[in-house]
Amino acid sequence: MTRTILSLIVVAFAAAHLLAADWPQFRGPHGNGVSDEADLPATLDAAKSIAWAADLPGRGLSSPVIIGDRVFVTSSSGPQQDRLHVFCFNAKDGSKRWERQFWATGRTMTQSKTCVAAPTPVSDGRRLFVLFSSNDLFCLDLDGNLLWLRGLTRDYPNASNSLGLASSPVIVGETLIVQIENDSESFAAGLDAATGVNRWKLDRPRDTAWSTPAVFKDKSGRLTVALQSKPGVTGVLPADGQVVWSYENGNAIPSLTAGDGVLYVPSRFFIALQPDASSATPKELWRTTSLGGGTSSALLLGDRVFIVSGAGKLTCGKTVDGERLWSLQLKGPFSSSPVAAGEKLCVVNEKGLVSIVDVSKPQGEILSQLDLGQTILCTPAIANGALYIRSDGKLWKLVKP
């Protein structure tokens, strides 16, 4: 009983440290690509929109994470990509507040397009949890003090993917959840956020996957973590890893998107699921092939869902039935996922072209574009009215001119 009360206090304390304007994880505060803020810059201008640009070493396609006035980002460097960097920049001027470096303890081999700094960190507002493709996991406070670390390949020697890993960790209360999917030793684990020790560990299908878990409340109000890989999607309880439902359709690359108790699965079809506590099989609300798909994950904005294909077709559909509303051709190719605030959506193609799209218009309308001139594979972040985008060598803050 005492432990339960203490846990609740910790969760409440952690929640009190996240601000509405923060971007604490991959695809934002709700993991659906949408900021709680009202707006994005409508106009981007090379001379006036770039508030600052900071240099980064080596490689990196993780997204920035923003807590208050701090911007966190990771990189990997060195001939073997075995130098792992965690940076904290001041949001105001891009000056470096601190940097920590670590040595990779797991395998650093990846396919050439990706790199060791592929997963995006997650923060609960007090701590930063940083995972690399080498399965090195670090917990730091926001001032860069090390709280704990793990070497997951050291503990589970076959848990690696020669193409590289990219699934980002998520945090639910005092449980940090990692999804390490590969051909040889796949697992998901819930770690004690205070110590990094396993609370639970779950065998997963032996297949490659790069999808980030989705945290959501199902129809019955139960907080669930959905784990996706190619064979399907599994719902687990974050506290103990208990499997509560499973579904036999999934995807290895784009992540799940959740909202209002509905889980959107980007499999061969785009599928809306409604899990609830009464059934071990989620109810399938609809499925469609008309919304397209690719590497990027779907964005959920109110009653609409947005998907960017690899070739750059942005498609808007209705969440109620999957009906396609409109499509807008953008310049591709795309690897990253769209983000949005208010009715403005931001997408960045692999060539570094940033586009702001007004999705309140009947067919969508490109409001502005800015060519950053570098290869960009990362999903942008939004905080305090600004956009944060990184390439291998740069981190930019874009603001209203």
Binding site: L6, I9, V10, A12, F13, A16, G78, P79, W98, E99, R100, Q101, F102, W103, A104, T105, M109, T110, Q111, D136, F138, G144, N145, L146, L147, W148, L149, R150, G151, R154, D155, P157, N158, N161, S162, L163, N182, D183, S184, L191, D192, A194, T195, G196, V197, N198, R206, T208
Partner: protein, 375 residues
């Protein structure tokens, strides 16, 4: 008020949950060095780390020394403390103990990673001192320091070559080739030497095993051959004949001409899918010694040394690179047997055709260990 209350409660909770931190550096180091698998000892280490992080710069070499004999997981704890101290001290315009750090770098008995870290600290404060140190690091046990030293020699060789002083350029490139351990540097130097008309024996330089006995194909339908204990795993009898996937199979000699020791099984067994083959070789060691077997393959594999399974991995066609897997072993004096199981899956895409492996014997730095007869 509400926030204050929450903060107070959290602080009380922290007091309740956090382990008592050692207040002395030596005690804190001991606690961190005791960190074990799966986060065991993390809570104590986290508390101990705070003691290290507030130490002054005078303790830097103690923290660097604490990395001696530790694995990199543990060393990362100390590295974070070093970074934290350095950042704070330099931010406060305090000085780092450069002389102590230089002495630490010079002592090659220390942890190579720690020495490199100390070197980088020296380079931040006194770049000229660091640059001077590199000149003597061509044979350094820190691969990162050695790499930079080799880079200097390569740059020198390029300059001499451009100036038309070919014999000097060759001499410098050969010096770089002897010292280099990183694959990319070695390949760069080998190309330069060949462009200058010199020959380079890369298989020997890397220590690739090029002479094999190969047998197959055995059945790997539905991937079941990976786990199956097939005849060569029970006994290596080079005169034996077995039932293979589509008929009798027997061992055949194979010497790979590939520059990086690639054993391509497709031409030997036919371009097949859903199959298993074995490669067998012997390595004559002049003495008992620690070594590494370094394997590269896109196929699922198992490797045995002297009949003992070293590691196995069931991953197909996710990429390959030289030294992809490093297997630490102890060679016995005289004859050592090496058996490689290479499995091919049943996918039909173009990128799943390769059925091959490369294997070399070297020390932990990547220095080739040659068989006794080849010395």
């Amino acid at each position: 008020m509400k926030q204050l209350s929450l903060a107070g409660l959290a602080a009380l909770l922290c007091l309740r949950l956090c382990a008592a931190a050692p207040t002395d550096i030596a005690g804190a180091i001991k606690v961190i060095r005791a960190v074990g698998p799966e986060g065991r000892g993390n809570a104590d280490a986290s508390a101990a780390w705070k003691t290290l992080a507030v130490a002054d710069a005078g303790h830097l070499t103690a923290l660097l020394t604490a990395m001696d004999g530790t694995e990199e997981l543990v060393a990362n704890w100390f590295r974070a403390a070093v970074d934290t101290i350095v950042s704070r001290e330099l931010g406060a315009s305090k000085k780092l103990p450069v002389d102590e750090l230089v002495k630490f770098v010079a002592d090659t008995q220390h942890n190579p990673r720690a020495r490199r870290l100390a070197f980088e600290l020296v380079a931040r404060i006194e770049p000229a001192t660091a640059e001077k140190m590199l000149a003597g690091m061509l044979d350094d046990p820190s691969l990162e320091l050695r790499r930079d030293a080799v880079h200097r020699v390569i740059a020198d060789a390029v300059g001499v070559a451009v100036a038309g002083r070919k014999p000097e350029a060759i001499q410098r490139y050969q010096q770089a080739l002897r010292a280099g351990r990183d694959v990319d540097q070695i390949q760069e130097v080998a190309k330069s030497l060949r462009d200058l008309g010199e020959s380079v024996d890369l298989p020997k330089l890397f220590g690739f095993l090029t002479q094999w006995k190969v047998i197959g194909p055995f059945d790997n339908t539905e991937g079941k051959g990976f786990a199956a204990v097939l005849p060569p795993e029970k006994e290596v009898n080079l005169a034996a004949e077995y039932d293979g996937k589509s008929g009798k199979v027997r061992w055949a000699n194979h010497t790979t001409p590939h520059e990086l020791g690639m054993v391509d099984i497709n031409p030997l067994c036919g371009q097949l899918k859903g199959v298993v083959a074995y490669g067998y070789t012997e390595f004559n060691a002049d003495k008992a010694r620690p070594a590494e077997l370094r394997l590269g393959t896109k196929n699922a594999w198992k490797v045995w040394l002297n009949g003992k399974l070293l590691f196995d991995r069931e991953e197909y066609h996710r990429g390959m690179q030289m030294d992809q897997y490093r297997l630490a072993v102890q060679l016995q004096p005289g004859r050592n047997t090496i058996l490689v199981k290479a499995c091919q899956n049943e996918l039909v895409e173009k990128w799943t055709v390769e059925w091959q492996f490369q294997l070399r014997v070297c020390d932990h730095l990547g220095t080739a260990i040659l068989p006794a007869a080849a010395r």
